[in-house]
Amino acid sequence: MSLLDRILLTGGGTAGHVNPALAIGAALAKPGAAVLYVGVKGRAEEHVVVREGLPLKFVRASGFPGLRPSAALLKFVVDLGIGILQAAVILMRFRPTAIVGTGGFVAAPVVFAAEILKRLRLCRAPVFLQEQNAVPGKLNQVAGRLAERVFVTFPETLEYFPGNGLLSGYPLRERIGSIDRETARARLDFRIPEGRTVVFAFGGSQGARTLNRGLVDALRDLIPHRDRLFVVHGTGLSTAGRYDASADTQGRLQQLYTEEERELINSFYVARPYFHNIECLYALADLCVVRAGAGTLNELARAGLPALVIPKANLPGDHQVANARAMQRAEGAEVLYEETVVEDGHVIERIDGSLLAGRLVDLAFDGDRLSRMARAAARFHRPDALGVISRAIRGEGPEPVPHPVAEEPLEMTLPSNTALLSRLEAAVRKSGKHYKPHSVIPDAAELQYYRSRAASLLVSPGWEDRNLGVKLLGLLGATDKVPLIVALLSNRTPAPLLERLFGGDFAEVGFIRRNALTALGRLGVVDPAVEETLLTAFRDPYYEVRCEAARVVARFGPRLTRKAEFIAALSKGVEDRDIEAAGACAEALGQIGGEEDALPVLLAMREREYWKVRSAALKGIITLVERGKVTDLSRLETSLAAFPLISTDFVPQFELKANYKKLLESVARRQGDAR
C-alpha cells in the first residue's frame, strides 16, 4: 500500500480552511484513492465538502478560548476530549495512509488522536499541516509540533515551526482562474446581461457584517447606474451566534427600500449565501469587493482581478490590513477602511454606503484603471503551491523544494496595538508635556490608520481591548474620535450580576472610564458633550473616575464654559471619602476657582485627617495666589497661621545617593563638553 492510497483530510470552520484541504486532496489523490473528510457539524465544511462529492465525518471541537478559567475553557476541554476519541475511532476504521490538516480548531482533535495512536503503534499515517495565516493560532502551533511537515503560506510563519516548516504559498483549487467567460456564464443559476460591468462582493465564506450592510446601503446610490452595472453579492454562510448573514441582508433590503426600488435593484443585484462555483464569478467579475483574508487575496491574484479591499483590523499581526496595503502600494487594489461611529448611543463599526458606492462607481467605469490594477494584482500570485506540497508529501524532488516566489510579496505584519501603546507611553515618559504623537508616527496616513484601528477596538467584546483602544485614542491625538469616547462614557449598561456581586458596576469597567477621561484630557477637545460627560463623571461610583474627572477639569481650566457647575462639583468633590479624589478636586479648584467660590472651600479643608488632603488644599491655594485671584492676602495669611502641619510622612534624603548622582551628572556634563 502506498502513502497516498487512503487520504484523510481535515480542517475547517470557514471555507478559508476547507478549500486548501480540498485543493491538496485533489492534487494528491490518484484515481481510485480513498479520501475522507473530517470536520465539525454546522460549519462551512458541511456545505462545501458534500458538494465536492467527498464522504464527510464529524467530530466535536471548539476554539481555544485562552487559558483563563472560564466556561468556554471547560467546553473546550470536554469537546477536545470527546473529539479526540471520535477522531481515534474514525482513524481506526478508515486506516488512512496520510493525514492532511489545514488548521482551524477542527483539525486539532484529528492530529492529537493520530499522535496518540502513533504512540500506541495503532496508526502510522504521517500528518501534514498547511497553515494559511501569517500568525498561526495556538492550537495549530501545538499541532504543528506533532506534524511531519507544516506547509506555510508566508515566510514569516516559518519561525513558528522550526525544523518542519516549509514555505509553499497558498494552495488554490485548480479550477480557479482556469475557466473562460462563456462557460462561466452558462454555469450560473442567474443571468448577467451582456455589457454590464460585474462587481462581485463577498466577505469570505462566513460573510462580513459591515461589508454586507455597507453594500446594501450603497445600492441606493448605484440605482442610477443600473444599466451599466451588475452586482453579485455573496452574503456568507454565518447563521450561528449573533449574526445571520443572509437574513440580516434580506431584512435590511426590505427595511431600506420601497417595493419599487427593490424592483429596480433586482435588475442589477443578485445575492446568494455562498457560491460553490466561485471560479465562474471570478471569470465574469470586473471588480471585487472583498475582505483581505489570505485565501481571498491569493485567489484574486491567481484570477488577476482588481479589488476594493475592506480589511478587518486587529487580527493577529493585523495581517488583513498589512496585506491590503501591500496590494494598494502595488496598485493592485484600493483599500476602504471600516469606520467606528456612534449610532443610537452605541459604538459600532460600519462602512458608509454612499462612500462605498462612490468608490465603486469611480473604479468600475474606469476600464484602463481596472486593467492596470488587474495586471498589478496578478503579480502577487505565487504559483505552484500545490506542486510544492504534493512533491514534498510524496517525497519527490530535491528537498527543500525551492519555494516559488511571487513577483510582489504580501507584507505581513503591522505593529500590534500593545506594541504601539508601549512605544507611545515611552514617548510620553520622555517628552512629558511636550509629547506629540507625530514625533512617534511621523506619517500622517499611518497615524490616521492607527487612530481608526484603535477606534475599532472599542467595539470589541473584551474590556481589555476596549481599554487599550481608549488609551491609544488619547495618545494618538485622535480628536475626531472624541464622540466615540463620550459615547463609551455615557454607556451605563450594567455589568453581569456575578461581577456586580464582587464589586463590578458597569459593562464599561472602571479602568475604561478612568482611561477614557484621561484620553479626553489629552485630546483637549472642549465641547458641550464633553463638558456634560465630565460633570457626570463626578458622580461616578468608582473613585478613580471621580479623581480623573477633577484632573481633566484642571487641565481644561479656563476653556470650560459651565464654570459655576464645575466649581460646585469640585466643592462637593473635596468632601470625597477617597483621599485621592478629594485631593484632585482641591487642586482643580485652584485652577478654575476664585477668591469667592474656591478659597473658602480650600481653607475649610484645614482639619482633614489625612495630610495628603490638607497638602492638596495648600496646593490649590498656591495656584489661586499665583493666578492673582486672591486680593485680600493679609486675611489669607491670618487664616493660614494655625494651619495644622501634623504629617505622617516625609521624603527621605540619602546624602550618599545624592552625591553619587551628582558625580555621575557632572561626569556626563564634562563628557558632553569634551565632545
Partner: protein, 368 residues
C-alpha cells in the same frame, strides 16, 4: 551535635555534669536562639559586602511607588545568611533523630532553594519583574506540598495514627474534621498559600521579619507544650512525641530573625530576598501542619493572611477580572503608605498588629 555529645558524656563524667542541661528543651532553645543571633550578627556584614561586590542587589520593579525607587541597589539574599545560621544552630542544639525536626528542616531548605532560584533569575535578568516564572515557582512549591502530605499520610508520618487526618480549629477542643479526603487537599492549599504570604509581606524594611519572629515564637511555645505529655494532657491537646524539637528550631529561627533585623531595620542594609521570605513562609506552613495548628494561622499569622489576600483579591478579582481596583493599593502595607503613612510608621503599626495577633493566638491555648 552538642545534644548528642552532652547526652553521651554527662552521666559518666562528673566534671561535665552541667551538660545535663541539654536534656532541657528550654535550655537548648535559648542556646539555639543565641547561637543563631550571634552567627547572623557576625556573618552578615561580610556577606553584605560580598553581595555588593557580586552585584546581588535589589533590582528596580515597576511598582509606581516612589520610595521603592530609593531601594534599588540594596543587597538582597539576606536569606542566604539567615537560613544557614538556623541550620547550623539546629545541627548544634537539636536532637536530630526527631522526624518532626527533619521534616521542618527539609521544608525550610526546599523553599529557600526555590527562593534562591528566583533571586538568581532576577539578578541574571537585571530586572525585579523577571524572576522565576509564576508557574515554575508554583510547580516547585506544589511538588514539596505533595511530598510533604504524602509523608504525613504514610506510615512514616511522625504524627500519631489517630491524629493523622484531623483538623483542629481554635477555641474548640475536639477535632473539627477527621478525613483524609478533606485533610490532604486542605494541607496542600495551606502550604501553598502560607509559604507565599511572607513573600508578599516582605515589601518594607523590617516588615516581614518581626511578625515572622512573633509567629515562630508562638509556634515554639506550642511545640514545647504539645511535645510534652503532661502539658498536652493538661491543655487537652494531642500529645506529639518528639515535636518538642520544633521549639528549638523555632527559637533558633526567631534568634536568627532578630540578628537579621539588626541590619534590615530602616533604612535597610540588606533584604531577605525570596530566599529568606519563601524559607520563612515554608517553615511557618510546615510548622503549623506538624503541630496541627493550621487553622490557628488565621489568627497567629493574620497579618500575612491579610497581606496575601489583599494582594490576590486586588490582582485576580479586581484588576484582571472586574477591570477596577478593589483596594486603593495592595497589598495592605502599600495601601497604608498610599494613605500618607511613612514607611517606618507603617512597619511599626503592622508590628503592633502582628504582636497583638500573636498574643491572641497564645490565648487560644487555654481558651477552648
Amino acid at each position: 551535635m552538642i545534644y548528642a555529645l552532652g547526652k553521651l558524656l554527662h552521666p559518666d563524667i562528673p566534671a561535665l555534669s552541667f551538660l545535663r542541661l541539654v536534656e532541657y528543651l528550654s535550655a537548648r532553645s535559648i542556646a539555639a536562639a543565641l547561637t543563631a543571633t550571634l552567627l547572623v550578627l557576625w556573618v552578615t556584614p561580610r556577606v553584605i559586602w560580598y553581595l555588593q561586590r557580586r552585584q546581588f542587589v535589589d533590582q528596580l520593579r515597576q511598582t509606581g511607588i516612589a520610595s521603592a525607587l530609593d531601594k534599588a541597589g540594596t543587597p538582597i539574599m539576606g536569606g542566604a545568611v539567615v537560613i544557614p545560621a538556623v541550620l547550623a544552630s539546629c545541627l548544634i542544639w537539636c536532637n536530630l533523630s526527631s522526624l518532626y525536626l527533619l521534616l521542618m528542616l527539609a521544608g525550610m531548605l526546599w523553599f529557600a532553594w526555590i527562593g534562591f532560584l528566583d533571586d538568581r533569575a532576577k539578578m541574571r535578568a537585571r530586572s525585579g519583574d523577571k524572576g522565576l516564572s509564576e508557574a515554575g515557582k508554583l510547580f516547585l512549591q506544589t511538588a514539596f506540598a505533595v511530598l510533604f502530605v504524602g509523608i504525613l499520610a504514610s506510615p512514616l508520618s511522625p504524627l500519631p495514627l489517630a491524629e493523622r487526618f484531623r483538623i483542629y480549629v481554635p477555641f474548640v477542643k475536639t477535632a473539627l474534621v477527621d478525613s483524609p479526603w478533606l485533610f490532604i487537599p486542605f494541607v496542600l492549599l495551606f502550604v501553598l498559600l502560607v509559604s507565599n504570604s511572607v513573600n508578599i509581606t516582605d515589601g518594607m524594611d523590617g516588615l516581614a521579619i518581626v511578625p515572622s519572629v512573633f509567629v515562630l515564637l508562638v509556634l515554639g511555645v506550642f511545640a514545647y507544650l504539645l511535645g510534652n505529655a503532661i502539658w498536652a494532657r493538661y491543655l487537652f491537646y494531642p500529645f506529639l512525641s518528639g515535636a518538642g524539637e520544633l521549639a528549638v528550631f523555632c527559637s533558633a529561627f526567631a534568634g536568627a530573625g532578630i540578628g537579621f533585623l539588626w541590619f534590615n531595620a530602616y533604612p535597610a542594609q540588606i533584604f531577605m530576598g525570596d530566599t529568606g521570605a519563601l524559607a520563612i513562609g515554608g517553615s511557618m506552613a510546615v510548622g503549623c501542619v506538624l503541630l496541627k495548628q493550621e487553622a490557628l494561622f488565621l489568627i497567629l499569622g493574620g497579618l500575612f493572611v491579610a497581606e496575601a489576600l489583599s494582594s490576590q483579591i486586588q490582582d485576580k478579582i479586581g484588576v484582571k477580572w472586574l477591570g477596577r481596583r478593589i483596594f486603593h493599593r495592595a497589598p495592605l502595607h502599600h495601601r497604608m503608605q498610599h494613605l500618607g503613612l511613612a514607611e517606618t510608621k507603617v512597619v511599626v503599626r503592622l508590628w503592633i498588629i502582628s504582636g497583638l495577633l500573636a498574643l491572641g493566638a497564645l490565648a487560644t491555648l487555654k481558651l477552648r
